[in-house]
Amino acid sequence: MRIPRRPRRAERWLELALACAGWLSMVVVTGLVVVLAYETVQFFRLPVDAANPELVARRADLERFVEARPDLVGRPWRLVREFFTDTTWSPLFSTKRFGVLPLLAGTLLTSAIALAVAVPLGLLAAIYLSEFAPEGLRARVKPALELLAGVPTIVYGYFALTFVTPLLQDYVFGQALAGQNALSAGLVMGVMILPLVSSLSEDVMRAVPAELRQGGYALGATRMEVALRVVFPAALSGIAAACVLALSRAVGETMIVALAAGQTPNWTLNPLETVETVTAFIVQVSLGDTPYGSVEYRTLFAVGMVLFCMTLLMNVASVRVVQRFRERYL
C-alpha cells in the first residue's frame, strides 16, 4: 500500500492564496473610497487650480471656469459652501454654479414616490404571502414577484418613458405632466423595489413563532388582528431593515431615472416636473466627453461621493435597526 505524502507544505501556500482572495474585497472598498475621496478633493481644489495662471493657460476647461466664476478663484471654501447650500446646479453650462441641492431634491423626490408605492404594496403582499396564502400558491407567487427584481432596470426605464408617462398624460394629468417627470420614474421604480420589501418582510414574518399566533387566536383575535397586532410588531425590526434597504436601492438606481425622470437639474418637489437625480447626472456627464481631470470629470466624483455617503449611511442604519429592535425568541 502506498502511503501518500502529507501535502502540508503546499497547503500553507494555498491558504495564503485563499486569504489574499478573501481580503480582495477589502482592497476594492479601499480603492473605491480612495478614488472617490481623491477626486472629490480635486473638485474642491478647483478654485486653487484656477488661481494658477500656468495651469489655466494650458487647459481650456479651467479657462472657462475662471471666466464663468471669477468670484471663486482662489477661494476653495466658498466652493464648499456653494456645493452644500446653493440651489442651482449648472456645471455643464456656461454659468457654472455648483449647488448640489437640486440633484439631492430629485433623488429624494423619486425615491419618496418609489417608497410610497413599494412599502404599502410590498407589506400587504408580504402579509398575504406569509399569513393568508395557501402554501402551494405562495410557492408560485413568491418567485414570480422576485422576477420583478430580476428585470434589468433599462427595461423599466423604457416602460416608464414609453408607456407610463403617455398613459398618465392621456388619462390623468394632461399636458401638466412633463414628458420626463419624477412621478412615472418614481412609480415604476417603486414596482422595481417592491420585491425587496415583500421578500425580506415575508421571510421575517414567517420566522415569527407559531405560538405567538396561537396565543392571539386563544384571546379571540381574528386573523387580521393576529397579522397586524401580533406578527407585524414582532417582525418590525426586519421589516424596517427591508424598507431601509429598498430606499437605498431607490437612491442608487440609475437607468430608470436617467431615462424617465430627465436630465435637467430642478430645485423642486413637484412630481409632475422634470428632475435630475444624482445618478442621472453621473450618466449625463459620462455620455459626453470627460477628459481626465477636467471640471466635468471632477464633478462626477464629487457627486458620486455624496451618493456613496448616502447609501452607506442607509446600509449601516438598516443593520443598526435590526440589532436594536430585534425580538429574540427562544
Binding site: L32, F132, T162, I282, F301
Partner: protein, 294 residues
C-alpha cells in the same frame, strides 16, 4: 334580558364587524399581490407588442445604423459576450476562493467580522459607483482606456460580492458531519474542501454564479462611464477594443427621438430578456438537479 346577554350580543355584533374588516383586509392584501403581478404582465406584453415587428434575423446580424430598418445588435451582442467572458474568468474563481477562505479558514474574530461586514456593504454599493471606480482605476490610472478589458474588470468587481455571498450560502449548506467524516479518514483541510465540500456545494455555487452573471448582463449604468460608445460598427477583436453591450445599445436607441428606434429598442429588450431567460433557466435546472437533501 340580563346585562350579561346584552354584553354578549354587543360582542357578537362587534365580532361580525371585525370579521368583515378582516375579509376586506385579506382582499386588499390579495389585491396588492395581484397588482404587482399584473404590472409585470403589462410590462412584458407592452415590450413584446412594441418590439415584435423588429424581431427578424437582421436584429442580430446587423450593426448599428442611422436607419432603424437596417440597424441591429450584432456588435452589442458580441460585446456583451466578451465583457461577460472577461468578468467570469476574473470574478468567479476569486469569489469562490474568497468565500472558501471566509467560510472554512478564517478564524472568528473582529478582523473576520470586519471582512464580512465589508462584503455585505460592497454588495449594496450602487452600481454607478463601480463605474466611477472603473473609470478612475482601470481607464485612467492603469491606462486601459475605454476598452472591453476595463468593462469586464469593472463588472467583475461588481459581481464579486454577489459571488462571495452566494458561495458562502452554498458552503454553509454542506453539513458539518461530512467534513468530520473526511477528517476522520485522515484528509487534510484542503483535501476535505477540494474532494468533499466543494463537490457537494457545486450546484449551489453554480446557481449563484449564474444569477450573478445575469445581473451583470442586464447592468447598464457602470458601463456607460467606460465608453458607452454610441456607434460601434465593428466586432471587438481584442480586449483593448472599444465596445458596446446590449443594455447600452438599447439605452442609446431609446434616447433617440425617432419612434422607430424605440421599437428597435423594444426588440433589443426582447433579445436581452431572452438571454436572461436562458441564464435563469439554466440556474433553475441546476438547482433542481442537485437532489441532495441532508
Amino acid at each position: 334580558m340580563s346585562v350579561r346577554s346584552v354584553e354578549e350580543a354587543g360582542w357578537r355584533e362587534g365580532l361580525r364587524w371585525r370579521e368583515r374588516v378582516g375579509a376586506l383586509f385579506v382582499a386588499a392584501c390579495q389585491g396588492a399581490t395581484l397588482l404587482a403581478l399584473v404590472f409585470l404582465g403589462i410590462l412584458l406584453v407592452d415590450v413584446a407588442r412594441d418590439g415584435a415587428p423588429y424581431l427578424r434575423p437582421e436584429l442580430v446580424t446587423n450593426f448599428p445604423s442611422r436607419s432603424p430598418h437596417q440597424a441591429g445588435y450584432a456588435s452589442a451582442l458580441v460585446g456583451t459576450l466578451g465583457v461577460g467572458l472577461i468578468m467570469a474568468t476574473v470574478a468567479f474563481p476569486l469569489g469562490v476562493l474568497a468565500a472558501v477562505y471566509l467560510e472554512e479558514y478564517a478564524k472568528p474574530g473582529p478582523l473576520t467580522r470586519l471582512l464580512e461586514v465589508n462584503v455585505a456593504n460592497l454588495a449594496a454599493v450602487p452600481s454607478v459607483l463601480y463605474g466611477l471606480l472603473g473609470l478612475g482605476v482601470f481607464v485612467e490610472a492603469l491606462r486601459m482606456g475605454k476598452s472591453l478589458l476595463a468593462g469586464g474588470l469593472t463588472l467583475a468587481l461588481l459581481v464579486l460580492p454577489l459571488t462571495i455571498l452566494a458561495t458562502r450560502e452554498a458552503l454553509r449548506a454542506v453539513p458539518f458531519s461530512m467534513r468530520e467524516a473526511a477528517y476522520a479518514l485522515g484528509a487534510t483541510r484542503w483535501q476535505v474542501i477540494r474532494h468533499h465540500v466543494l463537490p457537494y456545494a457545486a450546484p449551489g455555487i453554480l446557481t449563484g454564479i449564474i444569477l450573478a452573471l445575469s445581473r451583470a448582463v442586464g447592468e447598464t449604468a457602470p458601463l456607460i462611464m467606460l465608453g458607452a460608445l454610441q456607434y460601434v460598427p465593428f466586432l471587438p477583436s481584442s480586449p483593448w477594443d472599444y465596445f458596446t453591450v446590449l443594455p447600452i445599445q438599447i439605452f442609446n436607441y431609446v434616447s433617440l427621438p425617432n419612434p422607430e428606434f424605440q421599437r428597435l429598442a423594444a426588440a433589443g429588450i426582447l433579445l436581452l430578456l431572452a438571454v436572461l431567460l436562458c441564464l435563469n433557466g439554466t440556474a433553475i435546472w441546476l438547482r433542481n438537479r442537485s437532489g441532495i437533501r441532508w
